[in-house]
Symmetry: C2
Subunit: 237 residues, 2 copies
DNA sequence: ACCTGAACACCGTTCAAGT
DNA sequence: ACCTGAACACCGTTCAAGT
């Protein structure tokens, strides 16, 4: 916060990768994916478009860095409780972050095996290990959990994006629900019957139920020494 | 296939939404997301850029239509077997389609609640119903399944994209695995221990294991009339 | 070394003008 | 009604020139 050190230049502070990334996050947050522009960015930083290239290779790397900044913030605080609780807390933290910054979803799929995902992978993987999953299944089970978390959060963010800030959620869900009710009787027999469930569902709640479903599935593969196979987390209905 | 009817014009056939969408799919397939351009498209169709707008509202709608065309093709043939088998077949069909046309992943998240997703939702939902899931959980369980399928497939496609056609998969996985082994001992204690599992994993296989994990989770919530809670699909190890 | 900002090679989209 | 293609208002990225 202190703009002290170094002899004052034309700008308050010299350009730096960190300042650029911060400005990028701000731009993405209030103007969306399409709002991140080297021209808009250079204006916000009181510099020329070319200057940014001295600190960032290209737009893709910039988006990845902005994504990483948000995710790192989310993973900062350590949850506590059972491994199941920790998975839920981690998942919900990411879900909320992606909901608040929908552009993160795009950034994550664009840079999967890079810096960001390993961070998430590590946090989730530790819980998988503590859950008692056999060692030879750690990679697969952790991957599946991470894939569900990021996949579900990304799809939720996509919906939030088309909703926009000015569209009423209930109104929108009601409209979709009505559309579903009017679908072809034969071709969409199933979808029609859940139109009302769709109208009244809660995204966060549904996301958590998905986590619990996967945790329950993991539970069926876990055999704590000497005890029989048990469905996971009996503490939740 | 027959280019008969109507008096011959400068082009073999008049422009139509279908011809435009077909050309878009072809363009996306061999040049990727960035290859779809109104200029490239109009050249392929021997017309001007403006002409396309008489049949398609904008690029977003065009991408959605192209996505829908691919997905509809995938869902065309009806699988058979148990509901579990059908879910696996449906999921694998989508996985393979997204793997073959990576741009579909982006198209799906960009137009989630539109025409494409309901088609997938319906197909999956019917199996959820046949699985014996209680009626009041149909929407949630189906959503979770669809979210996992599309989310995992999308992330796989993202990896395939950064891999590219000219990069050797084994070599790439080996490189990532080595990176993981060299990560910080404390910060990445878990990730380091699964570096070798990551090197030898198979994407399709892992995807299917994820499906089975979710199905197993669903199994713990299913109570066929009069019988106790049972883990799902005892037929698979 | 870092920054500037004009310039290059593109985009999606529009629109007067043609048929 | 459908098509044309120039034109508009943008992009990301580069690069000579400055400090």
């Amino acid at each position: 916060m202190a703009a002290v050190s170094s002899p004052s230049r034309r700008r308050t502070e010299a350009l730096s990768r960190e300042r650029i990334v911060d400005a990028a996050v701000a731009l993405l947050d209030d103007a969306g994916e399409g709002g991140l522009t080297f021209r808009a960015l250079s204006q916000a930083l009181a510099t020329g478009p070319g200057a940014i290239y001295h600190h960032v290779a290209n737009k893709e790397e910039l988006l990845a860095a902005a994504t990483d900044a948000v995710v790192a913030g989310t993973l900062a605080d350590e949850p506590d409780g059972t491994p199941q609780d920790k998975v839920r807390a981690l998942a919900l933290g990411l879900f909320d972050a992606i909901d608040a910054h929908p552009w993160v979803a795009g950034g994550l799929t664009a840079s999967s095996w890079q810096a960001t995902s390993p961070r998430i992978f590590e946090k989730v993987g530790r819980q998988v290990r503590d859950l008692g999953v056999p060692h030879d299944r750690w990679f697969t089970v952790t991957s599946v959990l991470v894939q569900y978390i990021l996949g579900a959060a990304a799809q939720n963010a996509a919906n939030a994006r088309i909703l926009g800030p000015d569209v009423d959620r209930d109104e929108f869900l009601g409209a979709v629900s009505t559309t579903w009710e009017e679908l072809d009787t034969d071709e969409y027999a199933f979808t029609r019957t859940v139109a009302d469930q769709m109208r009244s569902h809660d995204d966060r709640e549904q996301f958590l139920e998905g986590i619990d479903l996967v945790l329950a599935g993991i539970g069926t593969t876990v055999r704590p020494t000497g005890t029989p196979v048990m469905p996971a987390s009996p503490s939740r209905s």
